[in-house]
Amino acid sequence: MLSTHGDSAKLIAGGQSLVPMMAMRLVRPAFLVDINEIAELKFARTERDTARIGACLRQSVVERDGALATRVPLLRQALAWVGHVQTRNRGTVGGSLAHADPSAELPLAAQVLGAKMILRSAKGTRTLDAEEFFSGPMSTSMRPDECLEEIHWPVWSEKRTGSAFTEIAIRHGDFAMVAAAAQVALDAGGRCTRAAFGLGGAGGTPLAFPKIAARLLGAKLEDKAIEDAAGEAAKECDPGSDLHATKEYRRHLARVLAGRVLREAHAKALAATR
């Protein structure tokens, strides 16, 4: 269907973004291909260093999955901010990623952790890193004939790992004005061995800051180091202005929230005994 009809055919999974857009006549696909009943797209498997999630797995199922919460804690932390109970019961992980809203929570988590997207078309499969996958506001590097089939989430095996997610929205469950996510790992002496953080709603795609995070390596992550990293990320991001928040306010939130998640992730890593 996708290869025959190209852009006039759309895959529908949970429909929690696509159907509102159709109701508002923002998109008018001539053909909808419903993938909800494909059982093979609804699985979660944790392997040594990867958690594999089928694209059509419901968000509420992932939220309740204890094994996933232990291996990729950022997922459950991000999902707590995604929509409402009713939308998470229907919405899928792959649907949210393919919709690629720059302020959405799951795309941010994928970008921060460097998740890999497995794409399938009639011609075969290929894998894209989150960074290549998100190409702009509501757009991805998927070709019109491709389907997101599976997502590989990296599992950090360090004992002392901590992660955090937060955001500011008008009301809980609304689109985030700015969202922030972080994950850090520490050695026995409390020095940072691995760090990743990023911002949503602060540019055309979810943003990760690997270069700034790399400067945290070897540091004790005291307040000064975290404030510097958050400040630099806020300088680097490029938020827009709209009815809900000005560019300046978003940049302010970016700095405050990035600092907040880094501090929280650090505190959790210090306390972790897994």
Binding site: G15, Q16, P20, H84, V85, Q86, G173
Partner: protein, 159 residues
């Protein structure tokens, strides 16, 4: 878009309801217009207000964001399905009456579905969990406090 009709068989409130529907007919329109189950309300029609909430296989979802064909082979519970078999009100519905958990009543069917969904999976919710469960349902009358009280009362009586 085609006018072709698709055969469906959906279990609604415990009864199999066969039908033939166009592919783009929303579930809420089918429930209201074809089955005359007008207890489920249509509000914003794009997934914001929660008035159209129904249970799909026991879990609350928005029926304005689903096409009827997508419910084929699944179980749907509407607000009409919450009452006891003799037609009298459920514990939760009675609690809404007693605590004045409704005024105009527009949001009530969705609130009842969201709250019942919570109580089914969590019989002893905290106030925060109740507020989270009804967080996707808008009410412009009550200020939500009496709705929270209704759910607390129902939880107590269900023990």
């Amino acid at each position: 878009m085609s006018d072709k009709l698709h055969e469906v068989s959906i279990e609604v409130n415990g009864k199999a309801r066969p039908g033939a529907v166009p592919a783009r007919l929303s579930l809420v329109d089918w429930l209201r217009d074809e089955l005359c189950l007008t207890g489920t309300h249509v509000g914003c029609e794009h997934g914001i207000c929660g008035a159209c909430s129904v249970m799909l296989d026991g879990e609350p979802v928005r029926s304005c964001l689903m096409y009827t064909v997508q419910a084929n082979g699944h179980r749907v519970t509407t607000v009409e399905g919450l009452a006891k078999p003799d037609g009298s009100m459920s514990i939760l519905q009675d609690a809404f009456c007693e605590t004045h958990g409704l005024q105009c009543g527009y949001c009530t069917p969705g609130m009842l579905i969201a709250a019942q969904g919570l109580l089914n999976s969590n019989p002893n919710p905290t106030e925060e969990q109740i507020r989270d469960a009804i967080g996707g349902n808008l009410c412009r009358c009550t200020g939500y406090q009496q709705i929270v009280e209704a759910v607390q009362l129902a939880a107590e009586r269900t023990k």
